[in-house]
Structure formats: structure tokens, C-alpha cells
Symmetry: C2
Subunit: 128 residues, 2 copies
């Protein structure tokens, strides 16, 4: 049976989400190794950054909706995903990991993790 690898996305683009090359090459590596990617992202708003200028627009987008661009729509709300369905979990980089999946970009050492990301990781750890 194919191993299932969770891929936690944080948006679509390096400055406010998942770095797209990292995310796609993660999906490629999972596929080439005979496993199945299970894409997921939190359903939450984030602060949009214009990737041509690198400047925040003042607008917001939704992490799950934008992550769906990388996953071509085949994606779950992370709150619906349980560790028992997964063999591993991968976090592609990009500022979205530090801005959306936790608030490290803002709070540094005082950062808090997104509750559903923390819950899934604790489940994975408990399942060894």
C-alpha cells in the first residue's frame, strides 16, 4: 500500500505562503518515491504580499484557498486531517510557515503555533 505523506501548505508564494518551488518539488519527490501526497492547509486569512514588489498590499487572502492553487484543488482543511491517515508529514518552506502556520515572524522566541498544526504534530509524535 502506498505510504501517505502529509504536505502542510501555508499559501501560494514565498513572501506570504509556501515557497512554490519547494512545495512542487516536495510533491515531485513524494510521487517519485512511490508515495501519495496528502495536501492540507489551515482555513484562515493572511496578509497578502505583492511578489513583484515584495511589499504588503494591505489586503488579505485565505491560506486554504491559495494553497489549493499548488494542490490543484486536491487539498483538505488541516482540521479534518488525523495522524492515523498519515505515515509522515512535510512542511515546505516560505514565509507562510513563519507567518501563517505559527507567528514566529512576528513574535520570535515567544511564537505560538497554529492550534491545528500543533494538534496534528502532537498526534504524529504520539503515533511515533
Amino acid at each position: 500500500m502506498k505510504k501517505k505523506v502529509g504536505v502542510v501548505l501555508s499559501g501560494c508564494g514565498v513572501y506570504d505562503g509556501s515557497e512554490i518551488h519547494e512545495a512542487v518539488l516536495t510533491l515531485l519527490a513524494i510521487d517519485r518515491n512511490g508515495a501519495e501526497a496528502v495536501c492540507m492547509a489551515p482555513d484562515m486569512e493572511f496578509a497578502e504580499v505583492n511578489h513583484l514588489t515584495g511589499v504588503a498590499t494591505g489586503g488579505t487572502r485565505n491560506v486554504l484557498v491559495e494553497s489549493a492553487r499548488i494542490a490543484r484543488g486536491k487539498i483538505s482543511d488541516i482540521k479534518e486531517v488525523r495522524a492515523e491517515g498519515l505515515d509522515a508529514v512535510v512542511f515546505p518552506g516560505g514565509y507562510g510557515a513563519a507567518k501563517n502556520l505559527c507567528n514566529f515572524a512576528e513574535k520570535g522566541a515567544e511564537a505560538a503555533i497554529h492550534p491545528e498544526v500543533g494538534r496534528l504534530l502532537r498526534e504524529m509524535a504520539a503515533a511515533k
Copy 2:
């Protein structure tokens, strides 16, 4: 000297722009073959599609700005690009090619190509 391969992007996401996997794997293939990718896109608005639902939102985004997410900001307005700087040109797929780079998705056989896309391709053909 490295060959330069133009990559014409049409947004960021299969339903309203460049299919992200095709675009990234095009960039990977260019890099692995020792060439340099020159990303470009037209500076124009397009009709946004929600990639989680597949439904048009009624909003618009900008092709060049969204394509910059795939190119990590290293991208030119296609109107500034000349054939003499390129050895080849590639068009990754996605509905953006049929909606933004031309209007084939709407007009079918009566489609017109985006003027700057047509201009670059005519220059490439003339340069053989």
C-alpha cells in the same frame, strides 16, 4: 555562455493562470540542462478563479503580479523582452494560456493573441 530560455507565464494556478507544476518543472528542466530561465508575463488584469471550489470569484488579479509568485519576483513585463536576448521560448500550460495570453477560451477559432505575445513570437520566428 548559458542559453537563455524565455518562460511565458500567465498567472499562478491552473484555472486562471499557469499550471504551477508545469511552470516549476519547466524551470527545473531548464536549470538541469544548464540553461537560464527568463520569466515574463503580460501586465494585465484577469478574472480570478477560486482553486478550492473551481468557481470564478468575480474579482480580478494581475497576470504579471501573480506570475511573480512562481518566479519569486524575478520576472519581466513581456513588453520589455526582445527575441535577441533569447535562444528559445516555452509556454507552460494552464487555462491562463487560453484566457490571458490569448482569448481562445472565450473565442475558440476566432481567438486573438495578446499583442505582446504575438510580437515576441514573430520576432523569434524572424530570428529563426
